[in-house]
């Protein structure tokens, strides 16, 4: 984990006392993960953008209720994900997650996998298809834990479920994936 200068906690403190520049810095630091989390839940870019934007505005207004010293990211993701769910409910079918075309650069700046290419192109498509075919709650837990690489705590916050539920849902989803994929 790379620490950001200055730390979230300092920025949150400054933002709480009305420093909008500090909050803008927080937004810049977290807008990528917030937007992608919203995208995974809402299923389309327009709703995700609206949800992330609205989430950041609401989080700013709610900073007074933020418990000092606790991590900012899960707290923020809970608010953004909630906005995304509200939009997801009112919209039609979501688009399934898809893979970038071969050779394209990652937009999220994700580091290349240290494990190297575990999966050939075809297998990747098939695995993603299996994930897209999971029940919604299992698809989301896989997307949060493995695609967005959220911690179990962050996943619990984003999906608005208990930590134990994240654990059990993850192992159930992995089982289903093994069945579908093997």
């Amino acid at each position: 984990m790379v620490s950001r200068p200055p730390e979230d906690s300092q920025l949150v403190e400054r933002a709480r006392s009305g420093d909008e520049d500090a909050y803008e810095e927080l937004v810049r630091a977290h807008q990528g993960i917030a937007f992608r989390t919203a995208y995974v839940i809402a299923g389309n870019a327009a709703d995700a953008e609206e949800a992330a934007q609205e989430g950041f505005v609401k989080a700013y207004r709610a900073l007074g209720r933020f418990r000092a010293g606790s991590p900012f990211r899960p707290w923020l993701l809970r608010i953004v994900a909630n906005e995304a769910r509200n939009r997801r409910r009112s919209a039609g079918r979501r688009a399934a997650l898809s893979l970038r075309a071969a050779g394209e650069e990652s937009s999220g700046g994700a580091a290349p996998s240290p494990e190297g290419a575990v999966l050939a192109g075809e297998d990747r498509e098939r695995l993603l298809e299996a994930v897209n075919g999971l029940r919604e709650e299992e698809r989301l837990v896989i997307a949060c834990r493995f695609f967005l690489e959220l911690s179990e705590e962050e996943t619990a916050a984003a999906l608005d479920v208990r930590l134990g539920t994240v654990k059990s849902r993850t192992s159930r989803a992995l089982e289903h994936l093994r069945e579908a994929y093997d």
Partner: protein, 232 residues
Amino acid sequence: MTELETALRQLGGEIDYPPTPDLASAIRGRLERPTRLWRRPAAVALAIVVVAAIAAAFAVPQSRSAILDWLGLRNVSVVRVEKLPVVPATGRLDLGRQVTLDEARRRAPWLRLPEGDPDSVWLNESLPGGKVSLVWGTPSRVRLLLTEVTGRAYIEKVVAGDTQAESVDIGDAGAWFQGPHVVMFRDRDGRFHDSQARLARNTLVWQLGDVTLRLEGGLSKAEALRIARTAS
């Protein structure tokens, strides 16, 4: 970690996410606003009243009603002020919900369409009569925005000294606004219905029967008029 988990993590790096929009800039200017929705427009309205009053004290030559008469646009009002109120440059485009062109046509049969299909179509029914927005580009990066309102909805523009406004020959009446100005949508009772005030770029506004159209983008007057003349 099992092989499957490793494979999933690797897959995660290759998901085709849309590019993250510049949220930090998008929410600038929205942070001070109070939580309750109805207070937002009130705050904007107050800001404009205050600025307008200051402007009046400086004896701005054109009065509001004079500008209105000159424009001949029924659903547009223009307030000239000394200095524009501070509003976000991008603002939040409150476009409403995305619909297909067919649905927009069904719900807003009065809709006028220019040449060339838009990239997305948006419907906002919180304004009386409805408001349809045709977007070329993406909602976060709009190249061209055509907004159409009818009935009791109307567009309010706040212009300052360095905004040029001139009457142009298009439809039943038209006006070209060159330079930054503030735009809002509201009903005839003066209530703001959607969207915060935001800073607009060069804009063409014109009237076709009961429909008021508003075209905004980085366009010259000639380009805007050319596009506008294709709308029927």
